[in-house]
Subunit: 343 residues, 2 copies
Amino acid sequence: MAKLTIRDIARLSGLSKSTVSLVLNNSPKVDPETRRRVLAVMRRNNYVPSFAATALAKGNTGLIGMIVPGLTWRFMADINYGVAKVVEDTKYEIVLFTSTNERDYGGAIDRVLSSGLCAGLLVVAHDQRQLERLVDLHRSGLVVVLIDTLGAESDLPAVGVDNHTGGLLAARHLIELGHRRIASMLGPLNHAYVQERLRGVRDALREAGLAPDPALEVETDFDEALVRSRTRELLELPPGRRPTALFAYHDSAAFAVLDELAQAGVRVPQEVSVVGFDDIDAAAHVRPALTTVRQPFARMSERAADILLATLDHPDSDGTPQRLVLPTELVVRDSTGPAPADA
Amino acid sequence: MAKLTIRDIARLSGLSKSTVSLVLNNSPKVDPETRRRVLAVMRRNNYVPSFAATALAKGNTGLIGMIVPGLTWRFMADINYGVAKVVEDTKYEIVLFTSTNERDYGGAIDRVLSSGLCAGLLVVAHDQRQLERLVDLHRSGLVVVLIDTLGAESDLPAVGVDNHTGGLLAARHLIELGHRRIASMLGPLNHAYVQERLRGVRDALREAGLAPDPALEVETDFDEALVRSRTRELLELPPGRRPTALFAYHDSAAFAVLDELAQAGVRVPQEVSVVGFDDIDAAAHVRPALTTVRQPFARMSERAADILLATLDHPDSDGTPQRLVLPTELVVRDSTGPAPADA
DNA sequence: CTGTTAGCGCTTTCAT
DNA sequence: ATGAAAGCGCTAACAG
């Protein structure tokens, strides 16, 4: 079953390639009856135009690439949803690139991407090295918009949230509840958003006349086990230094903290309060329901897609790169409460 | 910054297009020194070959598509990992297609796919309609391998697990623990694997001389709230009919069940035992740790990729479509225990 | 080892 | 409203 070409369809319907092409592209210049006939022939023969040939002739693949660091992050679904919603009523399609191993990320993938496979790129990347690579590509003409990657040292177009205020809100909430020893369970410090949130926490502390305690700023990564062991270490601090509240850089990390606390018999929020970040769906369902800082993932990615599409259709806007900062919002649930009186 | 073509590179390095092309394709026939020079010119000018042109000329895009129903399923990471591992040392790249809205799934996406964007397709799809579409495409030449989609009424190449035995193992385990009233919290019945697992449970029941009780076979979907309310309904059954064990079609559903049970003050496993399916990482971390049927996701997808690649490199094997069934394995943890004596 | 010459399947003026 | 012809950027024989 050799693949049919436009020529075959032309022959089969007694027309020329050009006319068939016009049909393919919904040209109004073709006779309705003719169009119907051609379409019928196509259907009957299961014809589909060659992607490569179309892309080559048009000089555009009509594909928008999306690069994400991993698939399991809960909010990927929201991000994906936002993008899909915007892109689905355009002529573009989305292809998603992921990679399980780090070395690929910088190599094979953007080889494909930079080769013009995709007209534009939406990227979720927190790694500084990846961003640098993107800056290069951007400079040489790649249309790219970052999602949720603000504050990094690049001036790529991006939409993200105000992480500083996010950290600030979380810490203020805790301070208002009377907490004085607030621990931060941080993500990798080489991620800009982690730094920003920490800065927010510290600012809130200073605002209240409290000095940030380095011992309460612990760095972790995406390994849950590490989060758990750090949590235990925090609990083992002497009574006067032990935190009464814990701000986790990530809801998933907060879940691990919550669980570890439960294991240790520490009651939340009576003895220790916990705040997360992201507000993924599960946050409302764990026990106790998690107080957390909400990121508007779907809206973020929608806006990013908007910017990308606008740039694609309007390549002349070589002015200032677009950067959009969306607000975060504190969602208070059951995992935070007044600081214990005896603390 | 107009995009450079192979012709520019040829001119810039004083050679012909063909030689440059040979360099591009790592031909050993080109003089090492010449190659070096050409490569330097390319680097210096930031040249990247056009994807579309290459694909058209080669008659192959070098892309393997992967279609998945959603991104949040925990095991997607494993599946992705398995595929990446196999594909990364071939000339192919992986692109992932997802869709948030159902109608897309059958339309735009496979338009892209069938148009030769991808040389082959790896698909995770449980929906019967989607499968039918794939059968069509397969018949007209698309190379496709299904992952985790066995038992569906198609003879597409596929690798999956023995869901019947999975259900059987889970139920037998429960029966051996003395349980007599075993409820099945099923997924959508139009998914073949759901049927298979249920068949396994029933067979185990019959084996033990027990009659499957329709009231204990409840259908749910991927909505967690539904799982929760069904769980409550089960708990409200009169003492003599209330299940002492619950088999959930999915670890995530099992988590919801566990949580709902905890809410209701029902102790697991003392009063009710719970078994899941999949063995996603979280299964070992919830409290109580979940007894579950493990699916070897990474291995599944590896084998699927193997089959796909073999078919791609060996299009003549028009014989019997490959179908591979991998075994499941019962992982006993803390959520199952002896049936309560008074039951 | 390098150059010549045809295409790959489709779009796109420009005629008719 | 339809057709002819010239590419899009690259590869792949085949010569040399």
